[in-house]
């Protein structure tokens, strides 16, 4: 499906997982043209849209960048008007509106994850046509197909930060190992009430599996 995107696409693996006290959002770092040429080995697909809210992008890079730029503006304006940090649901909703109202032209999907005072850590997925769904964890992008089984088997609610980091790292490594348009380094962002921590795992430090 990604090979039909004109121009640069993030054939990709993205995920977001809630744990006890926070949420981890992660992605690979490869951008490719038509699945044949890697146009960037180190692109950052985790966009910060507010202090405790990140979103990760899949699909056409141009579309995703345009949408997140507009969303970032709308969310910070909303936050100033309300005089309080925005809800994760509000940020996800902004993305959804943009995706749904422009569904004919756009080819981008998003995962929004973050922490807010009202509901704590949350993950929202905004699919290609503009559907908005809240889930305890979610995976997306072309590489996600290969890790549905792994994620279903290994996810448990209320994991600790370390367990969740291990789960996300393993999932990304497995997907990057099987999907030729996902690769590079693994970017992970841990979002909690206290703050935001960015973890980067280079390719050679990723977990290796039996046939590697």
């Amino acid at each position: 499906m990604d090979s039909q995107i004109k121009g640069v696409s993030t054939g990709t693996t993205i995920l977001a997982v809630t744990f006890n006290g926070g949420v981890i959002i992660g992605s690979d770092s490869r951008a490719s043209i038509g699945g044949n040429y890697v146009s960037s080995k180190t692109i950052n697909k985790l966009i910060q849209v507010h202090d405790r809210i990140f979103c990760c992008i899949a699909g056409s890079l141009a579309d995703a960048q345009a949408v997140t730029k507009a969303a970032k503006f709308q969310i910070s304006f909303h936050s100033i008007q309300m005089e309080s940090p925005p809800l994760v649901k509000a940020a996800a909703s902004v993305l959804k509106e943009l995706c749904y109202n422009n569904k004919e032209e756009l080819q981008a999907g998003f995962i929004t994850a973050g922490w807010d005072r009202k509901k704590g850590p949350q993950v929202y997925t905004v699919a290609l046509g503009g559907m908005l769904l809240s889930q305890p964890f979610t995976i997306g992008g072309s590489g996600s197909t290969y890790i549905y089984g792994y994620a279903d088997a290994k996810y448990k609610p209320d994991m600790s930060r370390e367990e969740c980091l291990q789960f996300a790292t393993n999932a990304l490594a497995l997907a990057m190992g099987r999907d030729n348009v996902s690769g590079g380094v693994a970017h992970l962002v841990v979002i909690t009430e206290e703050g935001v921590e960015h973890v980067v795992i280079p390719g050679d430090k990723l977990p290796k599996f039996h046939d590697e």
């Binding site: 890790i147 549905y148 792994y150 279903d152 088997a153 497995l174 039996h210």
Partner: protein, 232 residues
């Protein structure tokens, strides 16, 4: 009155059979499926789901996709049901003949290569992804995968069919060399259950078989007995 309405709205279908036969009966029968095979010391474990579809209709919900080719050699079929049945029949005949000439049980590698020859020669016409697995005296348990296009490669563990995409990650992280037969059966059951949960073209029961020097042991895990991995 009804006929006028239909042809006015769908002029291109004025003379087609689309109204005489339901849509699901016009699609080709496919084993959109999940199949897998694992080698262990002393034999192989093979597994498959049991769903055969014609479009959105499940033509057979208790299909047996694990087809015997010889006493200790099986194949797991995915792709077009007709194509795989035809190819399996051809190979069964060829292998049986070869085994009689040789006057000893055939090698798994021979069976796999026979599949490859047919699948490669007729690659444009066929839609067949096959996993050949079995036991022979020379090399013990072996798994050979012959995907669409007609390549052959031996692998310690192999998955195939539409549902296989979803379990590559699970397979890569959970397979360890040196598993016992029971561990392999458990691994296959879990992998099939995960794939059947996510793939719309896979489902029904999980069929498993363990092939060793001693013989064949078949198992069926019914839908309600499959491991559950629900979240949220």
């Amino acid at each position: 009155m009804a006929a006028v309405y239909m042809s006015a709205n769908r002029p291109e279908n004025a003379f087609s059979t689309v109204d005489l036969v339901p849509e699901w009966a016009q699609e080709e029968v496919s084993t959109g499926t999940t199949i897998m095979a694992v080698e262990f010391d002393g034999g192989v474990v093979i597994g498959a789901d049991s769903r055969t579809t014609t479009g959105a209709y499940i033509a057979n919900r208790v299909t047996d996709k694990l087809t015997p080719i010889h006493d200790r050699i099986f194949c797991c079929r995915s792709g077009s049901a007709a194509d795989t049945q035809a190819v399996a029949d051809i190979v069964t005949y060829q292998l049986g003949f070869h085994s009689i000439e040789l006057d000893e049980p055939p090698l798994v590698q021979t069976a796999a290569n026979l599949f490859k020859q047919t699948c490669y020669r007729y690659r444009e016409e066929l839609m067949a992804g096959i996993i050949v697995a079995g036991w022979d005296k020379r090399r013990g348990g072996q798994v050979y995968t012959v995907p669409m296009g007609g390549m052959i490669v031996r692998q310690p563990v192999s998955v195939g069919g539409s549902g296989s995409s979803y379990i590559y990650g699970f397979m890569d992280s959970n397979y360890k060399p040196g598993m016992t037969k029971e561990e392999c059966l458990h691994f296959c059951t879990q992998a099939l259950a995960l794939a059947m949960e996510r793939d719309g073209s896979s489902g029904g029961v999980a069929r498993l078989a363990a092939i060793t020097e001693e013989g064949l042991e078949r198992r069926v895990v019914l839908g309600n007995q499959l491991p559950k991995f629900s979240n949220a």
